[in-house]
């Protein structure tokens, strides 16, 4: 019996060693260690042994089983490893092949600029007000201190629909509409983005339709110095922390004093270049203190309240920011143009 066990051990170990797959290894496990396996069969003969031999043989059987099981486990691990390695090498792909295309579009560059400006002023506590693109003469001109026959109406040749109705020439009518709806409440803090229309022939720098963003802040004790402060905060957020602003006196019928606002040229940082015509400055905004007549007409007592307003052309800012040379690109929508604003 002892010989049988020794022989079984030798044979089994050799076969385990030679097993080339997990399947054949499993078959061997059943063959030797299974319920009907050879080792079990030997154990069944134990009863016939003399009592004094039983413990010795029993011990031997255990030794043989342990040895078999140990090798079995080792082989299993190593065969599993081999199988994984085999799979990995078969599954190799060319990672340099291009990925599958996912469609991606983007918003219009003017939308991007508008949203950026909106977000800056939202951060400063402003809300966004919108109004009609077609306006009455009253809101577009008269309520903004541009009575009929005012010479300044020359500056804005307009698309009229009838005597009293026209396409708005600026977003400023929103100021009036908002003030009227607020019925004398303060503060009024709005920005108004939108399309505006002027009778210009379309060329590289003119468009009969373009976009403006207008801002209005009315409260007690609003000063021109506050206008400077708010616009400086805006300019730095929009164009970079190191820019300066410069105000130049100007004229708008609905503000007084009025100012054109320049920012440090983004291209040359103020040293002078072709873009800023060697001045170091770029004009980006019109602004001023709200004219007392405008406040009066919209139901705000100019002795009690003051305010400032500003407006800027969105196309102009986009053109400066990206160096776009032709304003018509914004409206012809060549895909090669649109695609470039994908961030």
């Amino acid at each position: 019996m002892r010989d049988k066990l020794v022989q079984l051990k030798t044979e089994a170990l050799e076969q385990f060693q030679q097993a080339s797959s997990l399947n054949s290894l499993n078959e061997l496990r059943v063959q030797y260690l299974g319920k009907k396996g050879e080792l079990t069969e030997i154990l069944k003969g134990m009863g016939k042994l003399p009592a004094e031999e039983r413990p010795l043989i029993g011990q031997l059987v255990n030794e043989v089983r342990d040895a078999l099981e140990q090798l079995l486990e080792e082989r299993k691990v190593s065969l599993e490893q081999a199988a994984i390695n085999d799979r990995l090498s078969k599954e190799r792909i060319d990672v340099t092949l291009p990925g599958k295309k996912v469609a991606k579009g983007n918003t219009h560059p003017l939308t991007q600029i508008v949203e950026q400006i909106e977000d800056i002023f939202i951060g400063l506590g402003f809300t966004v007000a919108e109004g009609p693109e077609m306006e009455t003469d009253y809101y577009n001109f008269e309520a903004l201190n541009l009575p009929k026959d005012h010479p300044a109406r020359d500056m804005q040749d307009s698309f009229y629909i009838s005597e009293e109705i026209l396409m708005r020439t600026h977003t400023s009518p929103n100021q009036v509409r908002t003030m009227e709806s607020r019925k004398g409440e303060v503060p009024v803090k709005i920005i108004c983005p939108g399309r505006v229309y002027r009778r210009d022939d379309d060329d590289a720098t003119h468009s009969h339709m373009f976009h403006q963003i207008e801002g209005l802040y009315i409260d007690k004790n609003i000063r021109m110095s506050d206008l400077k402060g708010v616009l400086l905060a805006f300019a730095r957020e929009m164009f970079g922390e190191d820019v300066q602003i410069r105000l130049r006196p100007s004229f708008f019928p609905f503000t007084e004093p009025s100012a054109e606002v320049d920012v440090t040229c983004a291209v040359c940082k103020g040293s002078g270049c072709r873009v800023c015509k060697e001045t170091g400055w770029l004009e980006i905004l019109g602004s001023g203190m709200v004219h007392p007549k405008v406040l009066e007409m919209s139901g705000y007592d100019p002795e009690k309240y003051t305010g400032f307003a500003f407006g800027m052309g969105v196309e102009r800012i986009a053109m400066l920011k990206y160096g776009i040379e032709d304003i018509r690109h914004f409206y012809t929508n060549d895909l090669k143009f649109l695609k470039q604003f994908n961030r």
């Binding site: 599958k100 009229y160 004790n221 110095s225 006196p249 004229f251 004093p257």
Partner: protein, 808 residues
């Protein structure tokens, strides 16, 4: 306004201030200088010469050999080809070593064998704008007046040592439409004196009283009319210094009388007109409105039909001029004129503006009247011109002025409160500083309890209220000197409204799905604007009264024609694969003629054309189809909170393919449509097959749900079953799915169609649809029986409704 630097020096000291510095200072304090033109275009070493002799060139018919005295010891021999050169002329000579514009250098030369020591110059060769020269000086060499001094530097004589500042005046600063007005502005900026011209006048002639009468019959259009009579005029050229001033201002010299009126207009800002006194009947001037159907032949020899709201200058029988706009040919000063009736008047700006616009006759004069001239300048200009007509025209001025005044002007006194100044600007100025600024402006300012009482001269008609004075303080104190602060009020909450935020979500969703946002014009072409079905009853496009072109003549009523145009534009530029959308307004009205503002409806339009999936190593190219677009819309609706979206076949929508178009309903309300465009439109716009969608955002927004509902995660497992049926091809999958949902009952959690199949196996006119159904009971584990019963109900219902057969 063009301002000659040298001319300006007559009225204000510009010592130590270069034209460039002056321009910068003016711009920074509110009068923008748009450009500086150096009148010297690169000329050096030119002198005034005297042509002592002229002889024919021995070997060239067209050339002359001149002996020219330029004040040097010896005369210069110069070969000249100009026709008009002659002995006895004073001319401009560029000597050897001189430079002319364009880098031309004058060298000693031999012309056909004859030595030439310089060149006799034409105005053009000197870089002068020859269009401003009198006609006889435009051709050939420039011939100077007798009094030009031989040997003198011609650069200064011709006024080329000058710079012209081009002012871009805002409408409020019409006071700067005169040299004196600009001088006041410069004096205020530099804090220097203003030197006004001498206006003294010797009235040597007889009294004007019996000779000229002035009568204003339209007082609301003319507040003052003044006239002088100057006799014994000799018409001729004006002196060169005056011509030079006019040319610097861009005005062409004509003769001494016209030049004087123009010169004084430029100096004083007051337009003048000279009538030939002998052609004004009875010397009687009547200022009145035109009679119906009245006409006048103006100076430019054009017969003008007049409207009854146009202001005229007439004599007893006929109009002699359109007030402030243009004189009449019948009273024009000519070579036979000996007596001048000189007009200086103040007309209503509005009236002149309307007349000039209607007649298309805008001139230096009308543009000044339009902005209201300085009432104080009326008499000053009249006297100044009369004085110059004595000295330069050889005339005698009659005693007195014929004048009628219908309105007296008074200088306004405005109270300027110090607290208001500082409160408005954020400055901390003291009353003395403000008073100092008023002094520089030549505004009388007396101290008062709250600040200053300021009396504003009539030349500054833009200043009528306190805030106008505050602006003067701000710009002369310097905008740079205003501090930087932030508003002191409390903080407020900024943000977008739900609707605005929702619009951003739409943009972001569509761009994530591969679409590009476009912006198209709001003006449409009538030929295309009605190509697509509108949302509501047919709306008429609103026409512009003065469109710039037919293509942009109406307000758009629909977005899709513009997107088709965009597709066509892109296809012509080889961008064949295009996925675009626009969010924009359309303008809708039911009125035939607009009396109130139209409805501006915010709409969303989209267009997909060309290849949707490009050819890659993983797949063949796939053209965009209806279902690509529908998938995008489904994702959009899910993201923006549109629930209960139903797609219903729409066979009758204008512009759309009848078999490939769906109407879109949200909660049973139609909000838009989507589908393939009609092949006819494809041809009309010359584009490829295209799919479009059009959604009424204003209608959709109130129907959406913008928040998420949370349901606790399921505790019990779901059970999935497939169901394949065969039905007639005409039956729509949407109807079947609807029936499944209704028949299966509450335990149906989800259903989706996963296969559609047609073919011989199925039978002609039939199709097979395969659905996957997911059942779940949130309260308990489902039994097979429950699920089987549900499946059975579904099948029975489908069989009953659609004669569906279960596919084995």
């Amino acid at each position: 306004m063009k301002v000659s630097y040298n001319w300006l020096k007559q009225y204000v000291d510009l010592q130590g201030v270069s034209p460039e510095e002056l321009a910068e200072k003016l711009t920074r304090s509110g009068v923008e200088v748009e450009g500086i033109e150096n009148r010297n275009k690169g000329v050096s070493q030119i002198f005034i010469g005297y042509v002592a002799e002229k002889a024919k060139h021995p070997d060239a018919d067209k050339l002359n050999v001149c002996q020219v005295d330029v004040g040097q010891a010896e005369r210069l021999q110069i070969v000249c080809g100009a026709k008009n050169v002659d002995a006895g002329q004073k001319v401009v000579v560029s000597v050897v070593g001189a430079q002319l514009p364009g880098g031309l250098k004058i060298k000693k030369a031999k012309l056909r064998g004859v030595e030439s020591q310089g060149m006799i110059c034409s105005a053009k060769e000197l870089g002068m704008n020859d269009k401003l020269l009198p006609k006889d000086q435009q051709e050939g060499i420039l011939v100077l007046p007798e009094e030009a001094e031989v040997g003198q530097d011609a650069i200064s004589y011709l006024g080329l040592d000058d710079a012209v500042l081009e002012l871009g005046l805002t409408p409020n600063r019409s006071d700067c439409l005169s040299m004196i007005g600009v001088a006041y502005e410069v004096a205020a900026i530099l804090d220097r004196e203003v030197k006004l011209p001498d206006l003294s006048l010797e009235e040597e002639g007889a009294s004007i009283e019996d000779k000229v009468h002035v009568q204003i019959e339209a007082p609301e259009h003319c507040s003052k009319y003044a006239a002088r009579l100057i006799t014994g005029i000799k018409l001729g050229p004006s002196p060169f210094w005056m011509q030079s001033c006019l040319m610097a201002a861009g005005v062409r010299p004509i003769n001494n009388i016209v030049d004087i009126t123009n010169y004084v207009m430029l100096e004083q800002g007051q337009p003048l007109h000279a009538f030939d006194y002998d052609r004004v009947e009875n010397g009687k001037i009547i200022v009145r409105l035109a009679h119906p159907n009245e006409t006048i032949q103006t100076l430019d020899d054009i017969e003008r039909k007049l409207d009854p709201d146009m202001l005229l200058i007439t004599d007893v029988s006929k109009p002699v001029g359109i007030a402030g706009v243009m004189g009449g040919a019948n009273s024009e000063v000519n070579v036979d004129t000996v007596s001048i009736l000189l007009e200086s008047a103040q007309f209503s700006g509005v009236s002149i503006r309307k007349t000039a616009k209607k007649l298309g006759l805008r001139s230096e004069a009308s543009s000044r009247f339009e902005k209201e001239v300085n009432p104080d300048a009326v008499m000053d200009a009249l006297n100044r011109a009369a004085q110059l007509m004595i000295t330069l025209g050889g005339g005698k001025v009659a005693k007195g002025v014929a004048v009628e005044t219908t309105k007296e002007w008074k200088e306004p006194t405005i109270s300027l409160r110090l607290e208001r100044v500082n409160g408005y600007l954020g400055t901390s100025l003291e009353v003395g500083q403000v008073q100092e600024i008023m002094r520089r402006l030549r505004f009388a300012a007396a101290e008062s309890e709250q600040g200053l009482q300021v009396t504003v001269p009539l030349r500054r008609q833009d200043i009528t209220r306190e805030v106008d004075l505050i602006e003067e303080v701000a710009r002369l104190h310097g905008y740079d000197q205003i501090p930087i602060s932030l508003p002191e009020g409390g903080t407020t909450r900024g943000g977008l409204t739900d609707y605005q935020q929702w619009q951003r979500t739409i943009r972001n969703t569509l761009t994530s799905a591969g679409l590009f946002e476009v912006f198209t014009y709001a003006f449409s072409d009538e030929k295309v604007m009605y190509d697509f079905a509108p949302f509501e009853a047919e709306h008429k496009g609103i026409p512009l009264t003065m469109p710039m072109s037919e293509e942009r003549s109406h307000l758009r009523v629909h977005l899709l024609p513009h997107l088709l145009e965009t597709a066509s534009y892109n296809q012509n530029r080889q961008n064949n694969d295009l996925s675009i959308f626009e969010m924009g307004r359309v303008f809708l009205t039911e009125e035939a003629e607009l009396t109130k503002l139209p409805k501006e409806k915010l709409c969303l339009g989209g267009l997909l054309t060309g290849t949707w999936l490009p050819q890659q190593w993983t797949n063949k190219p796939q053209s965009v189809d209806f279902y690509d677009m529908k998938g995008i819309l489904e994702m959009l609706f899910a993201t923006i909170g549109a629930e209960q979206v139903v797609y219903r076949s729409a066979e009758n929508l204008k512009g759309m393919h009848p078999g490939r178009t769906t109407e879109i309903l949200v909660q049973n309300i139609p909000v838009g449509y989507a589908g393939q465009i009609h092949p006819e439109l494809q041809n009309k716009y010359d584009i490829q097959e295209a799919y479009v969608f059009y959604i009424d955002l204003e209608k959709l927004f109130p129907l959406v749900k913008r928040t998420n509902d949370y349901t606790p995660l399921p505790k019990y497992p779901a059970s999935s079953r497939d169901l394949s049926i065969v039905v007639d091809q005409a039956i729509s999958a949407g109807d079947i799915e609807q029936t499944i949902v209704e028949a299966a009952g509450a335990i149906l959690e989800d259903v989706h169609l996963f296969d559609v199949f047609t073919g011989e196996k199925i039978g002609a006119g039939k199709k097979s649809l395969a659905f996957s159904l997911l059942y779940r009971n949130p309260e308990a584990t489902l039994t097979d029986q429950e699920v089987n019963e549900a499946q059975e109900r579904v099948l029975q219902e489908l069989t009953a409704k659609y004669q569906a057969e279960l596919r084995m």
